[in-house]
């Protein structure tokens, strides 16, 4: 869990300079000298990667909802049993790439095994209507879902942070503007709605966005193997 007390305190104009304090151990730090990752690190990995893995399996292997869920669950269980995460070598690839390739190998082997058991050996694909029209490859779907889940988790962190600090107003303004699905209200409308100055809306949004960025970084730190891996993943998110 995040140590929320260690997070960046509210910043005023300019704010304190310097890097956001790290509150999450990287995967390698979490592994320490042991052979397996502690539960906390594994929870971070599954919190971020469960959905991307599930979507990847659905699109790549055209599994229906239940089969894809089962396969995803089996993958994480097998990964734990076989110490898959502990065998990750950051010199070869990012953890994200390593995990996707591991899923692909695992699901392909399970898929082949299931196909062999079918009478006649024919492979039956389930239609996945929701992805038929999608032009994205399974790898792109995985990447997209990874980003989606990363931001969803960081937003949860931001919301919890605001509630803990009595900053619900900041979150409400941020939610009304940056999470709006469709037309966004103007700053003036938001200011009138919440009874604050327009400049305050600008400041609250800037603050919430900065905090969101910091929570995204923290979430990434928890599932990457050191600074280099973290920087690479940050480039993937922001570029």
């Amino acid at each position: 869990m995040l140590k929320r007390s260690a997070l960046d305190p509210d910043t005023t104009m300019g704010g304190p300079h310097g890097q956001f304090p790290s509150t999450q151990l990287s995967l390698l730090e979490a592994a320490g000298s042991g052979d397996t990752l502690p539960n906390e690190a594994l929870e971070r990995v599954s919190a971020l990667y469960w959905k991307p893995v599930y979507r990847f399996i659905r699109v790549k292997f055209r599994k229906n909802n239940e089969d894809a869920k089962d396969l995803t669950q089996s993958f994480f269980a097998a990964a734990l049993q076989r110490d898959l995460f502990a065998r990750f070598d950051p010199a070869k690839a990012s953890f994200r790439t390593y995990l996707r390739m591991a899923v692909e190998r695992f699901a392909a082997s399970q898929h082949a095994s299931a196909s062999r058991q079918k009478r006649g050996g024919g492979v039956e694909f389930e239609p996945v209507e929701e992805y038929v029209a999608a032009a994205e490859s399974p790898e792109e779907v995985f990447e997209r879902e990874w980003q989606r889940q990363l931001f969803a988790l960081a937003l949860d962190d931001l919301r919890a942070h605001c509630e803990a600090r009595g900053k619900q107003l900041q979150f409400e303004i941020f939610e009304a503007y940056d999470l709006a699905d469709g037309d966004r209200p103007s700053y003036a409308e938001l200011a009138a709605r919440h009874g604050v100055a327009e400049a305050a809306v600008t400041n609250y949004l800037a603050w919430a966005r900065r905090m969101l960025r910091q929570f995204v970084t923290e979430r990434l730190r928890g599932v990457t193997a050191g600074e280099r891996d973290l920087r690479g993943e940050m480039r993937r998110v922001w570029s």
Partner: protein, 275 residues
């Protein structure tokens, strides 16, 4: 919380925006992004002028400042560097009004103009190399041709892994010779298929797979370009004898015409004497 694609894209964009409260700058719009960071157009409120504001990762702060110390007519001047509240580093620099080199080339400038641009790029590179800075991602998109014809090499790379495939050599480790490869690729890009063989040879030498077979540095590359412009033989190409003769006659046309005229007169006088 389930996010749709539009909201996700919006969040990715706004959460990356630099928080400029407490600085003299006011963000206007994003004007470019690359491996090293994002560049925004901003307004300097104190001096009431527009600037380009580059925001890079905090890990790159040291090298960013090293680049900021490069003062050369071919390198965009840095006005100020600073740190954002989230730890990222920004530097404000001249906002160059002009055309990116790849767009400029679409106007089909003359060969002489192309070589002038290339030489300015090479000079900036040579200057930076002498101060221990390598570019790492030299390509037409990173060169601006200003309204007065001035050339700016931009986006000096500080990434451990960088480079754009078409302009990046096969080198596993990027160093000055990798920049020489990119410079050769730039020359090749700027030449038409019908370009003189000597120039194509210069580009090919700079782009050799083996770094040791390339020009040892930017001045050596520029010297060969200069030799070509002066009508001399270039180091990169051992030209056939007929080509050497043609170049000699072309370069010494006046002298040869005078000699021919002298020989003609002597010949005429000789016949007149006989008669």
């Amino acid at each position: 919380m389930e996010l749709n694609d539009a909201v996700l894209d919006h969040l990715r964009r706004v959460a990356a925006l630099p928080d400029l409260t407490g600085t003299r700058y006011e963000l206007e719009s994003e004007i470019g992004r690359g491996g090293m960071g994002v560049v925004y157009a901003a307004r300097d409120r104190q001096l009431d002028r527009r600037v380009a504001l580059k925001v890079v990762d905090s890990a790159l702060a040291g090298e960013a400042r090293l680049i900021a110390r490069l003062e050369h007519p071919g390198i965009v001047p840095i006005y100020e560097t600073g740190t954002l509240p989230d730890g990222r580093v920004f530097y404000a620099m001249k906002l160059v009004a002009g055309a990116r080199l790849d767009h400029y080339m679409a106007g089909a400038p003359s060969l002489g103009e192309r070589l002038r641009v290339l030489r300015r790029i090479g000079e900036a590179l040579s200057f930076a190399h002498a101060r221990g800075v390598i570019h790492r991602d030299l390509k037409p998109q990173n060169v601006m041709v200003g309204g007065f014809g001035e050339i700016y090499v931009m986006d000096w790379g500080v990434e451990a892994v960088a480079g754009t495939p078409a302009f990046r050599g096969p080198d596993a480790h990027l160093d000055r010779l990798s920049d020489i490869y990119s410079l050769g690729a730039m020359l090749q890009f700027m030449l038409a298929d019908s370009a003189p063989r000597a120039l194509l040879a210069i580009a090919a030498k700079a782009m050799r797979e083996d770094p040791a077979a390339r020009y040892p540095d930017a001045p050596a590359f520029l010297a060969d370009i200069e030799r070509f412009q002066e009508g001399l033989g270039v180091e990169a190409w051992s030209e056939p004898i007929w080509h050497r003769l043609r170049r000699f006659t072309s370069r010494n046309a006046v002298l040869l015409w005078l000699l021919a005229a002298y020989a003609g007169v002597k010949f005429l006088l000789f016949f007149l004497k006989i008669l």
